[in-house]
Symmetry: C2
Subunit: 187 residues, 2 copies
């Protein structure tokens, strides 16, 4: 039943053309047969998947990092995040990225949700974790990663949103989850 409903309006692949194999993403164009029998093309970005971490410090602040986002041609303030290495478990990746980017280690990691960022043209999935019981250490960003760490209150987070300095899906979702936690006591 579930598997039937999950294939509703299936688009059957007639052919796949690989356009680009990059360092992070690849791109293919599929020709598909639609439910009415006609043909269409689908432009598909393949991505290894990623994690993001809503990390809340003992004094009730959220860890964020500011970094330059070339596709937007501006810097943005986001929660710590990173791509999955081949074969890496999302929870291990969340632990690793949190420590590399912020220096913090976490006694407790809990999966909040896994979501697709752009299901119309990409298969990227982000696993969003909440990290509590944090202990401070030394950040070790990648060689080509330039970022600045900050620990902000919910009010600051909302201010950054109003200013457009926070404006990505995973960070806004994390802020919603945090707000909900403050209102209801659970994630």
């Amino acid at each position: 039943m579930t598997s039937i409903s999950h294939k509703k309006f299936e688009e059957v692949t007639i052919s796949t053309r690989s356009v680009f194999q990059g360092r992070i993403i690849s791109l293919q164009v599929d020709t598909v047969k639609l439910p009415n029998g006609s043909e269409a093309t689908r432009e598909i970005v393949k991505h290894p998947g990623a994690v993001a971490v809503l990390a809340i410090t003992p004094d009730d602040r959220m860890l964020v990092v500011e970094q330059y986002r070339k596709p937007l041609e501006k810097s943005q303030i986001e929660i710590p995040a990173g791509k999955l290495e081949p074969g890496e478990k999302p929870e291990n990746c969340a632990r690793r990225e949190l420590e590399e980017e912020t220096g913090y280690t976490s006694a407790s990691l809990q999966l909040l949700s896994s979501f697709y960022t752009s299901p119309g043209f990409a298969d990227e999935i982000i696993h969003l974790y909440v990290a509590q019981g944090l202990t401070k250490g030394e950040a070790q960003p990648d060689e080509d990663e330039f970022l600045e760490i900050e620990a902000i209150t919910l009010e600051q987070a909302q201010q950054y949103m109003a200013e457009g300095r926070i404006s990505d899906a995973k960070t806004i979702m994390a802020i919603y989850a945090w707000q909900m936690y403050k209102l209801t006591g659970k994630f």
Copy 2:
């Protein structure tokens, strides 16, 4: 001051190579100079931007559409959404997509937030609206758009999330916003 901080850690473009120009997205690879003077490449997907609509019926249900998402090879239940036409105002696009996909027209449209879906590799922005004061009409999906409309309660939405039938960023964010509205009386 604002413009300075928005360019923090700027990556200056040395060259741009266009890889693909598609019907919906295009792809380019930029060679950039990093803050430490070394060079790196950035794979960048360009997208026209999109809107999504949290549409709440007079009997307190959210309108969703089920459709096949080729990049995920499964069907998904999402809020109504669609790409911006060239020069189209997001609010007009929200009105149009809501009516085309569900048949409903809205007396009131309010912008909830605008967010980037994947700032690491894409410039896609989604403008998320809430639509209230709905009036039912006739859906008119695009020729190659196959979808099924449903009006669901918050409990059903959460059930679909638990089952993985709702799992995209914009829809989960809309559900959070709706929940918050029920808790606090405001979006």
